[in-house]
């Protein structure tokens, strides 16, 4: 049973509580709508992202396969030495997008010229292939990271909204209703007591 609030049982409190109940019910409806919309958007995004992730994982596997060929044919220190200094750059601009009050990150990737930055004498051709594949995949990887972050933020927001909806539905609204019922009963009782007191007084006056 919902716990009633610790308030004075008077008319002012009653009307204040009635207003709060009305607001809580309206908030509950809005939050419930938000939760439903968020879940719908979340599921839609999750389905799209699953496909994207599978596609990128497949491409990544291909990249690593090429890199494995390069690694297998090169003295490992030479491979690491070749990649010690890189000349190509990548600039990342970050902004935010609002999806139902969830601020999700949006990345804009600008890839610089992926020019050759290692000597050809001590490396193999597979390294070129692998690095080129990695460079091609990088914008997609960043996009996937941003989308997955958005999905995670949406999941957190859904969880938060669900808690709020539950708190309103199972705690706040019942306790308001309980308190209103209690105050109403109290006021009715007061009125009845008042009435019987007045009748008693009237009876005493009449007998004299």
């Amino acid at each position: 049973m919902a716990k009633k609030l610790n308030v004075n049982p008077n008319r002012m409190e009653l009307s204040r509580l009635k207003i709060r109940l009305k607001v809580a019910k309206r908030g509950h409806k809005l939050l419930k709508d938000k939760q439903d919309a968020l879940i719908k958007a979340f599921l839609q995004k999750a389905r799209t992202l699953k496909d994207l992730r599978e596609k990128i994982e497949k491409e990544l596997e291909e990249c690593y396969r090429s890199f494995l060929l390069a690694r297998a044919q090169t003295f490992p220190a030479m491979l690491e030495q070749a990649l010690m200094i890189t000349g190509s750059g990548l600039s990342l601009k970050m902004s935010h997008r609002n999806i139902m009050s969830v601020l999700v990150p949006v990345f804009e990737v600008e890839q610089g010229d992926s020019s050759l930055n290692y000597g050809l004498g001590t490396t193999t051709g597979n390294l070129d292939v692998a690095l080129e594949k990695f460079a091609r995949l990088l914008p997609d990887l960043i996009f996937l990271a941003a989308e997955e972050k958005a999905l995670r933020l949406m999941a957190v927001e859904i969880e938060k909204t669900r808690r709020r909806v539950n708190a309103l539905e199972h705690v706040l609204i019942p306790s308001f209703q309980e308190t209103i019922r209690y105050i109403t009963m109290k006021l009715d009782e007061q009125e009845r007591a008042n009435l019987s007191r007045l009748m008693r007084i009237k009876e005493i006056v009449r007998s004299h």
């Binding site: 396969r65 090429s66 494995l68 060929l69 690694r71 297998a72 044919q73 003295f75 490992p76 220190a77 030479m78 690491e80 030495q81 010690m84 200094i85 000349g87 020019s115 050759l116 930055n117 290692y118 000597g119 050809l120 004498g121 001590t122 193999t124 051709g125 597979n126 070129d128 292939v129 080129e132």
Partner: protein, 336 residues
């Protein structure tokens, strides 16, 4: 000046050392291993076993391969009359060490880190001497003309901050030095090998640059002088389709390395096979000397085979350790 006849003893020693080379059966057993630990167990039954036992961590094989190469080079130093023959094979490691130190130096200036762990003892120049010379900027005592090349690299970096220029200069130095070393030796086979190697390297670079979409003018600085095929001819090939390279280079021996190029759908898959066939082609260049008991080229042949063997072992172990397809690994293996 050493004469060919002085190589009788050296060749005998090399014949004895050939027992250290892995036979096809050993490669087959390595390939048949289910996982990395079992492959390392198979390897430990070979000449690499001594070095594998010294490893402190399980499943470590790279230090063992390096130690075996180091042992073979130091053994060869003991009985090969002309140091040039083994210096030739160790030069790429010197170049690698210099690149590690220079890149570390450049990185450090930009707030990065140095990577001393990447230095290898396989080079001709002792690592400590190299570190001392480059760290103290006292290049005077650096051998092989590096006393001029290293400051030139530093200057290039300071002017343009373009690591590719430094890399190109050092790669160029590697081949010019190899030519210089064989130039003073009276062995035609060694000279032949280096010139064929330059041709092969140029073809390899050509394929890589063509795949990357380089134009002739951009690609020209990546090729090395001294091969049998002129640089102009090599550069002009970049505008030709790969399928035609074999025909256009038919006059040169290196065209043998290009046979079978038509079977590939794209340059990506071609590169894998091209690198293998180039190594096999270079093995073939030296192979004809193996039947001469006094040919100094036997030294080069043995050391080259050891390098190729180390590469094959690495291909198998890395592949098995990462669950690569065995058919792919077999395709990568060089002929030993």
């Amino acid at each position: 000046m050493t004469r060919s006849i002085d190589y009788g003893y050296a060749v005998s020693r090399l014949r004895a050392m050939e027992n250290r080379l892995l036979d096809p059966g050993a490669f087959q057993r390595l390939l048949d291993s289910e996982d990395l630990p079992s492959a390392i167990r198979v390897l430990s039954e070979t000449s690499y076993g001594k070095w594998i036992l010294e490893q402190q961590q399980e499943n470590q094989f790279e230090p063992a391969i390096e130690a075996e190469l180091q042992y073979v080079y130091s053994e060869a130093e003991r009985f090969v009359p002309d140091p040039g023959l083994y210096q030739l094979c160790r030069l790429p490691y010197d170049i690698h060490n210099i690149k590690v130190l220079l890149k570390g130096l450049f990185n450090q200036k930009r707030g990065g880190v140095r990577r001393m762990d990447l230095l290898t003892a396989l080079g001709n120049i002792p690592v400590d001497d190299l570190v001392m010379a480059i760290e103290s900027e006292d290049y005077r005592l650096m051998p092989f003309g590096f006393h001029r090349t290293v400051p030139e690299c530093v200057m290039l970096w300071e002017q343009a901050h373009d690591i590719l220029q430094v890399e190109r200069l050092l790669d160029e130095k590697l081949f010019s030095l190899q030519l210089l070393i064989v130039g003073v030796m009276p062995f035609d086979g060694a000279r032949l090998f280096v010139r064929h190697r330059i041709d092969a390297e140029n073809i390899r670079n050509l394929a890589r640059l063509k795949r990357m979409g380089y134009e002739a003018a951009q690609a020209a600085p990546f090729f090395h002088n001294g091969g049998f095929v002129s640089l102009d001819r090599i550069v002009s090939l970049i505008n030709e389709p790969f399928e035609g390279w074999e025909r256009l280079l038919a006059f040169a021996d290196v065209s043998k390395a290009l046979s079978g190029g038509q079977e590939h759908a794209d340059l990506d898959s071609l590169l894998v096979d091209l690198e293998r066939s180039i190594d096999d082609y270079l093995t073939g260049v030296l192979e004809k000397f193996r039947y001469s008991s006094f040919a100094p080229e036997n030294v080069l042949y043995f050391l080259w085979k050891k390098e190729i063997e180390a590469r094959n072992v690495r291909i198998i172990l890395v592949g098995i350790g990462n669950g690569a397809d065995k058919a792919v690994l077999r395709r990568l293996l060089r002929h030993v």
